[in-house]
Symmetry: none
DNA sequence: TATTTTTGATTGATTTTGATTGATCTTTCG
DNA sequence: CGAAAGATCAATCAAAATCAATCAAAAATA
């Protein structure tokens, strides 16, 4: 078997399993241990993977990239600031859920290079996630034509089999009394389920969504941490009494 | 053999296999090692391929496009005929599974206007299905970058909750002894599960796939009806003894 | 026929490979 | 906890595979 061929098999297996044992690679490629070791050494030099005792794993993030991104992010609108901050909460090794929606979409470029797994129901997110070399799982279910989000029983069911370190949800309305809301009941159901399955849930909403409410309730305020760009003095107490609020300053 | 001819064979093999050994090329062209080496050197200068120790591979840039696009250009006429016939088997009210793959992709335009529900694991199929106003469910799971198919445990699990009237599967190899095969074991697993969940299973394969076998077995011949464009006399009995075969004439 | 181009065989140099060694890391169990 | 056992490791080496360079024969061309 040719070197190139082996390398492809190794990276392919890695993309799929996150970690591979050296023995598995030996079997998969029908090569000797020595050869695989050499392959791993070389691929590590190329930053394609990271060696660990007994095998290899996907490379971990490179912090430098963030500084570059920050610069380009200076004059962007509120959503991008929120998205960037939200992305900074994602840590090495996290498994996160990304809700369909434009704000969460903005998070993706900032996730590049992080060694994470993303589960999403947003079709629009897919392309971008793959471009940024992020291991991506997609929910099943009925594809909603207008928003290209996956919803319904099928989506809920695929969702149940995961559990997340963090989840990031978009909402059309955030109200101190009615909680987080969105126009579509089925989407609301998916969002709520994702929140329940996550250790930490974040709702991303710019200030125009505050004190608004849409038709279908996603969850109560206290069920998620709210990330927004601006919260007027007069409301601070009201919201902070119910949940943690992160305000992303300019 | 003419130089041009050899070059065509080399690039042809490359497009199909991504990586070829020098020895394979020697056999395929009945030329000497030296000649093939010279060919490779020249083709590399023309950026048509990249030489590696022991053979050659596709240049990095072209690899992604080729993985799906060029492959689809092969036997396109045959595939279309097969696809059109397969689509004609779909009846009003059916719930069908469409496997990821270029042949099944061709079925979609012919499904327009039929009142059906489609479940698929092919990301490429989505856009086209929606354009043709077909109710579409998508499997969950890990998105395989190269073929844009959903695979893995997540895909299998979403699959289990459906049942189909018919399913249409693509295969890279069809062999009277080894059955239906495909290069990726995880994809094979998804294909097989879909077949089991369907009342009637069809495998779509143009004649270039016959008597070939790939790494991972999908199913035995008898587990699905084979639809192809050409089956030589000499093989007819062998195949027809094992399963129903539909040959789509020109 | 003479000239140029292409081919296949041969050479020694280079690269890759698998086995082996003793060193280092993990796990197990007293 | 700490020592022994078991894995895994990097380094090394000889065998095997592959390579580039060369040259004469064969084929194509003038």
């Amino acid at each position: 078997m040719l070197t190139e061929e082996r390398h492809r098999i190794i990276l392919d297996l890695l993309a799929r399993k996150e970690v591979v044992k050296l023995q598995e690679l030996v079997e998969a490629t029908h090569s000797s241990e020595s050869t695989i070791r050499r392959d791993l050494t070389q691929l590590e030099k190329e930053k394609k993977l990271r060696r660990i005792h007994g095998g290899a794993t996907l490379p971990h993030q490179k912090r430098e990239e963030l500084s570059v991104l920050e610069k380009s992010a200076k004059h962007i609108e509120e959503k991008k600031r929120i998205a960037e901050y939200a992305a900074s909460l994602v840590e090495h090794g996290d498994c996160i859920y990304l809700d369909a929606g434009t704000t969460t979409l903005e998070m993706i470029p900032h996730l590049r290079g992080k060694d994470i797994v993303v589960v999403t129901n947003g079709m629009m997110h897919l392309e971008l996630l793959l471009e940024n070399d992020i291991a991506t799982y997609l929910l099943g279910g009925l594809l909603k034509k207008k928003t290209k989000a996956l919803i319904g029983r099928g989506a809920l069911q695929s969702l149940q089999s995961y559990s997340f370190d963090k989840c990031f949800i978009g909402a059309n309305g955030v109200h101190y009394e009615y909680g987080y809301t969105t126009p579509d009941p089925e989407e609301a159901m998916v969002k709520h389920t994702a929140m329940r399955l996550a250790q930490k849930a974040y709702v991303l909403a710019d200030h125009s969504k505050l004190n608004e409410s849409a038709f279908a309730k996603i969850a109560d305020l206290h069920e998620a941490i709210l990330i927004t760009d601006q919260l007027d003095e007069e409301w601070q107490e009201l919201y902070k009494a119910k949940t943690a609020v992160e305000v992303v300053a300019k």
